[in-house]
């Protein structure tokens, strides 16, 4: 009893940081010694130089066009507000408003749903806990454009549902509107929120609930006491859900377009899809997308300021599970299954149907014709010299390099975000990283052309435009903000006392990291690597404008088929690419299981936990 209540008192978010006992060190915002203030912060400087080259300079070059198109030969004015007014009026203005309210709603819905699912999977005896965790990963990997295509294949007139004998005409009209947009975006944001909240819940031993109950708290009061302990995770989930939704293009381009419901990323795309492209209006929209992520960060910072949430250590106990009775257990399991059928099953069935049914979506008197012709076309491409083999191999190579580089950088940045003692530097890094999550890929891609193709840069610095290294850098810049936020939560839960203990016992820096840190964070690093690897292979917007001539990534090849009216071949190639990605995930996880000590899989963060 005394142990549990003492632990609860130690980690009470309401307690001042100075009273936080052993967890107080990372929460202290003490004044640095004079000698430290005088020293040049080389680490910080190095980080900002890297971020400057990766993100700030290219994106900044694009954003400058909002008021100064002449800087990059895109107009005659060095300063004008004309494009600001243009971006805030008409359908672009409506698009911004739509994106803001949809993103806010989606962030709240996805975080609430993710908290419920994470609690069910981690803290109850619901059936198939490992399966639900795995399905969350699959959900994370499926691009939103594929989800909407799948839903379309399923619900459209003479689509997969009609073939199965289900009338969906009433739902088709409803789904291709704000309702469908919110549903698909919520399911897309769900895994981000789930993994962040799961990490928070994992560090939260059941001793806190026990302590609250022992002190006479009701169930509701216990929830109100315990949930704030994972407040950083909840706020982080809301912030990342908001930013990811603001930057989503797949849904905006498909559902949003068909429903005449403009969203900001679509209006940005529309501004630069004509010739000549209006980069200045696109830049204004991009600025607003980035700035819109500041309020969630500010709210998060205010809510979690001066508090410590370090609860994960080598002594963290496995939480006790709530035991449902048989009927309730089956009902809850069915509820979870229903959620995944809605989020994942329906669009995948639709997409698979689209690749195997010859007359999907076609009025046919003679019934359904199943065929594997689309998969045959992969071996014998309908467009000469346009096979999937070399592009898929190149994309995998890109994925390995980008995921590894991003993993290292994200670890460094994640540690800085987690160790909350740097004050403004950390806050700026935090706002910066979330803001960059909201940058659409096309802005990053075109920004890279503006910056890395400047005469000064190519003559005196780097001549990388139209080479694979530039594509790698851009893909790394694209993945870095999301992955940093992905690993920052679990990294923040590792108590520094572990490393201190190792050093006290004579371990060197490398051994300290390997023995006291790595076992706790290895799994999140592996899952983070897999996340970036798969997202890099599926990424199109940046690859399309930056891939080197004659070295096509697979996403560009697939787009060539989809854009050339050869939809079934393109869909079959997409399915094959997804299967290949799942194969790599299985291989990496298998190797991790084989090569790491058993203890590494027992403690620390896990993407798939039962």
């Amino acid at each position: 009893m005394s142990s549990a209540s003492a632990t609860l008192a130690t980690l009470d978010p309401a307690a001042p940081s100075g009273a936080a006992g052993s967890a107080s060190a990372p929460g202290e915002a003490g004044t640095p010694p004079r000698s430290a203030r005088r020293r040049l912060p080389w680490g910080t400087a190095t980080i900002w130089v890297v971020l400057g080259l990766l993100i700030i300079a290219p994106v900044g070059s694009f954003l400058l066009l909002a008021t100064s198109p002449r800087l990059f030969q895109q107009g005659s004015q060095y300063f004008t507000l004309h494009y600001v007014a243009q971006a805030l009026s008409g359908s672009t203005g409506r698009g911004l408003l739509n994106s803001l309210w949809v993103s806010g709603l989606v962030a709240l819905l996805s975080t609430s749903l993710a908290t419920l699912v994470a609690w069910l999977v981690q803290r109850t005896n619901v059936y198939g806990r490992r399966v639900w965790g795995l399905l969350m990963w699959v959900l994370l990997l499926v691009p939103t454009w594929m989800m909407t295509l799948g839903w379309g294949d399923l619900l459209q007139p003479y689509g997969a549902a009609t073939i199965a004998g289900v009338t969906t005409q009433w739902l088709y009209g409803e789904f291709f509107g704000p309702l469908g947009i919110v549903v698909v975006l919520t399911t897309a944001a769900l895994p981000f929120a789930y993994f962040i909240v799961s990490a928070g819940l994992h560090g939260l031993g059941s001793e806190f609930e026990d302590a609250a109950r022992i002190h006479g708290a009701t169930r509701w009061r216990t929830l109100r006491t315990v949930l704030p302990i994972i407040a950083p995770a909840l706020w982080s989930a809301i912030a990342i859900g908001f930013a990811e939704t603001m930057s989503d293009f797949g849904v905006a381009f498909t559902l949003g377009y068909h429903a005449h419901f403009p969203m900001a990323t679509y209006t940005l795309f529309a501004a630069i899809s004509n010739f000549p492209a209006n980069f200045s209006v696109a830049a204004v929209i991009a600025v607003i997308l980035i700035v819109s992520t500041i309020p969630p960060i500010v709210i998060q910072a205010r809510a979690t300021r001066r508090r410590s949430y370090a609860v994960l250590s080598g002594r963290t106990r496995t939480p006790r599970r709530r035991e449902f009775r048989p009927v309730a257990r089956i009902a809850v399991t069915l509820g979870l299954a229903g959620l995944f059928v809605l989020a994942l099953g329906a669009p995948i069935i639709g997409a698979l149907g689209g690749s195997f049914v010859r007359n999907l979506g076609i009025y046919a008197v003679g019934g359904v014709h199943l065929t594997t012709a689309a998969y045959g076309a992969i071996l014998h491409p309908t467009i000469a010299d346009k096979s999937i083999g070399a592009p898929l191999l190149l994309s995998n190579q890109l994925g390995v390099v980008v995921a590894t580089a991003t993993g290292v950088l994200a670890y460094v940045l994640g540690r800085r975000l987690a160790v909350a003692r740097g004050g403004w530097s950390q806050r700026i890094t935090d706002v910066f990283l979330l803001g960059t999550v909201a940058i659409p890929g096309v802005v990053l891609g075109v920004g890279y052309i503006f910056f890395y193709n400047m005469g000064f840069v190519t003559s005196h610095f780097l001549n990388l435009y139209q080479t694979l290294p530039l594509l790698m850098l851009a893909q790394t810049a694209n993945a870095l903000p999301g992955q940093t936020r992905f690993v920052a939560g679990p990294l923040g839960q590792v108590q520094p006392s572990l490393s201190e203990a190792a050093r006290v016992h004579g371990a060197g820096r490398w051994r300290t990291w390997r023995s006291a840190q790595l076992p706790l964070v290895a799994r999140v690093l592996v899952w983070g690597w897999l996340l970036t690897f798969t997202k890099t292979i599926a990424e199109l917007a940046i690859a399309q404008v930056l891939y080197p001539p004659s070295q096509e990534p697979v996403s560009v090849t697939i787009q060539a088929y989809l854009g050339n009216y050869q939809l079934s071949t393109g869909t079959a190639m997409t399915v094959l690419t997804l299967v290949e990605m799942l194969g790599v995930i299985g291989l990496v996880l298998g190797l991790f299981r084989l090569l790491t000590p058993r203890g590494w899989r027992r403690i620390g963060w896990s993407g798939v936990r039962s």
Binding site: P32, P33, A36, P41, W42, G43, T46, V50, F72, Q73, Q74, S91, Q156, Y257, H260, A270, S273, N274, F275, P276, A277, F279, G361, I362, Y363, T382, I383, A384, D385, V401, T404, A405, V412, R415, R416, V419, V446, I449, F450, N453, Q466, T467, L468, P469, M472, L473, R509, Q544, V545, Y547, P548, P549, S550, V556, Q559, L562, G563, N564, Y565, L567
Partner: protein, 368 residues
């Protein structure tokens, strides 16, 4: 003592940080060196192309022209033009090859195209009509935009409209579709072509023609015109019986007829607008690169090049009319060019109006 420990920790943390960043830089450098080795010998000529058969043509050209290697940036028209615009005064493209002439006219006005690149070959009349007066761009093949693609299982040839005005009749209400010009490359040339025809435009200001076109599309909208993003969804709307016919690019209709929809057919109202596959050379490139580019253009318009174009994308872009005398279309489904009532519009007049017309269409027809 506490402060000293903090300082040590801070120093070590920073060292670890710098170490980690150094490791990342090392990995990045390794990647750079590996791939830069290939890039250093790099291409001298880059072809920016949105043609379905471009991979086959570039491969065939490289096989028959040893000495230098042409590389390909194969993309949709939109991203290619975005790249060219973003590259500004430091272009990397040597040849641009896309459908339509409007972008070429704009580049020519900016002084970015090489002049007099027309190979000495025998063009047919429609081919000749689409060559720039200063020889800065050349047609390599021809499709029609505004072709009436219809499902013969839903509507017979005898029931089809005969003129553009017929499309406004009540019996076609809600049965016609077309693409969104902001999403579909061939659709602005279609709208410009309708304006050009209805306004009987010859020269001078096109204002009257634009007004006539706007009035026409407004009536078409009132008669239930259905807008989809691109050819794929529009053809899908016909296949699912949501509509019966659509005004889109001819090659898309023929592609559907020979692949997924045997009942799909293509008819032509008088007139449809020529949409040439057009090629041009970057005039800002060094002379040596321009010379290589000229060889590539010559090859594309040779018998061998035309043949590769016709077999490179047999269900898609290969379904064009040749612009050279003596050449025939790749597939028998395509009628003789002489049977198609085709007009050509002036890209120098209609090109600069694209953003204005598209904005009007989006506000009044698509979202109106």
């Amino acid at each position: 003592m506490h402060i000293t420990q903090n300082n040590r920790r801070g120093r070590r943390g920073r060292r670890a940080l710098v170490g980690a960043l150094a490791a990342t830089s090392a990995l990045a450098s390794l990647a750079l060196s590996v791939v830069s080795a290939g890039a250093a010998q790099g291409p001298t000529l880059v072809v920016y192309s949105a043609q379905g058969y471009d991979s086959a043509v570039v491969k065939a050209f490289n096989a028959t022209h040893p000495g230098f290697t042409v590389t390909l940036n194969d993309n949709s028209t939109g991203p290619l033009l975005q790249q060219i615009q973003a590259e500004g005064h430091h272009p990397k493209w040597g040849v641009l090859w896309v459908d339509g002439s409007q972008a070429f006219a704009a580049l020519d006005r900016q002084g970015k195209l090489a002049k007099h690149i027309v190979p000495k070959v025998s063009f047919n009349s429609v081919g000749r009509a689409n060559i720039a007066a200063d020889g800065s761009f050349v047609p390599t093949g021809l499709t029609a935009t505004g072709a009436l693609v219809y499902d013969s299982a839903q509507i017979s040839a005898s029931q089809l409209p005969r003129t553009w005005a017929d499309l406004l009749k009540p019996q076609y209400a809600g049965k016609l579709g077309m693409n969104d010009p902001t999403q579909s490359g061939p659709t602005y040339p279609l709208i410009a072509g309708v304006m050009n025809d209805l306004g009987h435009y010859k020269s001078g200001s096109p204002a009257a023609a634009i007004k006539a076109g706007e009035a026409y599309f407004t009536k078409l909208k009132q008669n239930g015109l259905v807008i989809n993003a691109t050819n794929g969804p529009t053809l899908g709307a016909i296949q699912s019986h949501a509509i019966e016919m659509a005004i889109i690019q001819s090659s898309a209709g023929y592609g559907a007829e020979i692949s997924s929809s045997p009942t799909m057919r293509v008819a032509y109202l008088n007139p449809v607008t020529a949409l040439p596959g057009t090629i041009g050379i970057d005039g800002l490139m060094p002379k040596a690169v321009q010379a290589e580019a000229q060889k590539f253009v010559d090859y594309v318009l040779s018998r061998a090049g035309q043949h590769v174009m016709q077999i490179g994308d047999p269900q898609g872009d290969s379904l064009f009319w040749p612009v050279l005398n003596g050449e025939k279309p790749a597939n028998k489904v395509i009628p003789p060019l002489s049977s198609v009532p085709m007009q050509s519009t002036n890209p120098y007049v209609w090109g600069p109006l694209e953003n204005t017309v598209n904005a009007w269409f989006t506000a009044n027809i698509n979202n109106g």
